[in-house]
Amino acid sequence: MVIADGTIVPDSLAQNGANAVLTVDNIFKRFGPLAVLDGVSLSVSRGAIHGLLGKNGAGKSTLSNIIAGLLRLDTGSILLNGEDVSALPLTARKKRGLHLLSQHSEIFEDLSIGENLLLPDLPRRYGLTNWAALHRLAARQLESHGMPVDPRRRAGDLGASDRRRLAIIKAVAAEAALIILDEPTAGLAAAERLHLLEWVESLTKRGTSFIYISHHNDEVRQLCSEYTVLRDGKVTASGKAAELSADAMARVITGADVAEFHRAREDHSAAIEISGLSFPGGGPVDLAIGRGEIVGLVGLLGEGPQELMRALGGLLPIKAGAVLIDGREVRLGSPGQSLDSGIAYLTHDRIGEGLVGSMSVTENLNLGNWPLSLGWLVSGAGMNRRMREARGAMEIVMGNGGQEIGELSGGNQQKVLLGRLLERKPRLLLLDEPTVGVDVAAKEQIHRLIDDATTNGVSVLLLAQDPEEMQRLVDRVVIFSKGRIARMLHGAEITIDAIAEARTAR
């Protein structure tokens, strides 16, 4: 293996081709003008855990969706146990033992654990479900895979890590040859994470192979026997995980193609004051945010940071406390009131809560804040002027303003959403995963737009899963535990490791 300029020449595929459960050869995939996968090859050995690494937007999800059959490839081939499955639909690949478990693996919350495990082939007698047999069978499977829970319990009552276990057992029980795990430890505490990883490792002894997608390089080094690194849709490195140092791994993942944005930290005079704020899932929270300051919020899922943002944005009710902007208390309670008070929330759920898919790009930019003529008619000229300005200032790549918003790429959709909020001239911007599902170049642009807003005096609260993204943007980090602020990180304390550790420790 040769290391030069942070790139590693890929191993030859033939090397372990004979013992490979999956061989992906030279896959190309374009979305419009953008080449998302640019000649990707990889091979997974039998019984191995194969780490798939890369930054957001590198093409990991696209590749796993193509392998599983959710997306069609443009050219290339996928061999599963020597058989070309690239033309087969998802269900046929599943029958051959290829399973994809995404971050939000679909479990039926209102059904029992046993039903979840055995659907759609529930044991029957006289054409009706045989509940006794179902529970017996499910209990045996759960037991033998190291998860002794009562199969009659409601699946929705399981914790996050047990839900993921359930999904994995379901796949293993269906005699999966290869399971793709997409960020299985996202949002889990450190202890749970370790436990889940050890459990996954134990499953490989039965001959099941895994593709393991993760942001956590340490997890991959610890768990995986082999790995592939993607950057901008190309394989930049692959090989045996043990032969690669942590530094080299970080280097091949990051690369140097896109100039990374790093913000200059400085002190800020206070502008926003949150005092004694309580809301469902957290509080009371006291926090002062400076003029032009970016404060990063860190904590486990459901432990407060996101709830704080949604309460400030008017999407969760406020139970007690006050928010002051420049010393004046503002009225909150609905998104409309928050926006009128100068507080704008950028959602993490762009499709579900951000955009109206049936409307045009221009309408989405102006949504709920229509420029008016005669006091009640929407001014087309006014909307178009804002569209032109936003398009120029934010470098939105699009056809024309009349096209449907769904035709834009994720990054450009996100810019439209951000543009809508900035048009409101907010004093406090709440950014909940501002670069989720956004390509690398757009991510850097969005970072610059956020920084520009702060030089104009906008204060920012930031939530980001990626510790690196947070480290580069924030002036201060606030760590939540059980709904309250536990501690803060200032200046030199703000390192990627410190943020990553704070995220998982209680």
Binding site: G336, E353, L355, V356, S358, M359, G368
Partner: protein, 323 residues
């Protein structure tokens, strides 16, 4: 690439306007079987017949646009026109006041529906179905199924007057559609309705008062149902509780035929008009070509199925275009 795009665009144009093509095809067919179908007299007939239905179609469409439905429009029509007629008969109010009373009664029912759905979160399908049953049942009880005759010339002017040889009634249809078009396509309130129907959570997060928008849609529906009640009574010179149950089905089918999505957020006023006209043309056409009255409902049902099948094809091809 450009060729494929323009090919897709023209296909989309064709599918978006399929309702007009069906109107033309059916008219030619009916005209071939009975030349009177294509005469000026029948055109007048079609437009007059389309007026009450057309306003009801608008009423249902306002609620479809927010992803809900108002099945009380026919009950509301009967109820509000009965209230107006009663005011004239019992209290001798002036016809112009009676018109206002008719529409106010419709608005009141709409407000109630809107409150149920937007604030109490009742399911609109069942709540408005029950409301419609209640209203029609109440009128049935109050009138003992007798027709209430309206003789006031002012009240019946719009339904019976002519200018030259042309009836006045269709003017009401076109004014209603023009106003609806301006409100839905250009007013901030109208855009809020589309946004609410397209993605309620996103509309809410963008600062739109979603509850108020939903209340407004049902209120508009009630207003239009009251309006339809006035037009209906004005035309027939009286009001009877026995408005056909098929009227409601046509009032729901027409918007969908015209491209209004049952899931909210999509639909143009011109399409609603097209749906109304297609159904009216089919009904009058079948009568003119001497199809037995007993078969008209069956053929009407089949035509609506066909139109919806074409619409489903349009939606499927759109989805394929995106992926």
């Amino acid at each position: 690439m450009t060729k494929a795009v323009s090919g897709m665009a023209s296909k989309k144009l064709l599918l978006d306007n399929v309702v007009w093509i069906l109107i033309i095809v059916f008219s030619i067919l009916a005209g071939f079987l009975n030349p009177f179908f294509l005469s000026e007299g029948n055109l007048q007939n079609v437009l007059v017949q389309a007026t009450t239905l057309g306003v009801l179609v608008l009423a249902v469409s306002f609620t479809l646009l927010i992803g809900e439905i108002d099945l009380s429009v026919v009950g509301n029509l009967v109820f509000s026109s009965m209230v107006g007629a009663y005011a004239m008969q019992q209290f001798g109010v002036h016809w112009s006041l009676a018109v206002l009373i008719t529409i106010a009664a419709g608005v009141l029912v709409g407000l109630l529906n809107g409150y149920f759905v937007a604030y109490l979160r009742m399911n609109s399908l069942i709540a408005t179905l029950a409301m419609g049953l209640f209203l029609q049942g109440a009128v049935l009880g109050a009138t003992q199924a007798r027709t209430m005759v309206v003789t006031d010339e002012g009240y019946s002017y719009i339904g019976s007057a002519t200018i030259g040889s042309w009836p006045v009634m269709p003017i009401a249809l076109f004014v209603a559609y023009l106003l609806a078009h301006v409100v839905l396509a250009y007013s901030a309130w109208g855009r809020n309705l589309y946004a609410t129907g397209g993605n309620r959570r996103a509309a809410n997060a963008a600062g739109i008062n979603v509850k108020r928008a939903r209340l407004g849609a049902f209120t508009a529906s009630g207003f239009l149902a009251g309006m339809a009640g006035f037009l209906y009574t004005s035309y027939l010179g009286g009001v009877s509780v026995t408005v056909g149950s098929t009227t409601l089905l046509y009032a729901v089918a027409a918007p969908v035929i015209g491209g209004v999505s049952l899931f909210g957020g999509r639909g143009r006023v011109i399409g609603m008009l097209g749906g109304t006209l297609l159904i009216t043309v089919i009904q009058t056409g079948l009568q003119l070509i001497n199809v037995s009255a007993y078969y008209i409902q069956m053929i009407g049902g089949a035509m609506i199925l066909l139109a919806i099948a074409v619409d489903a094809f349009r939606i499927r091809s759109e989805e394929r275009g995106v992926v």
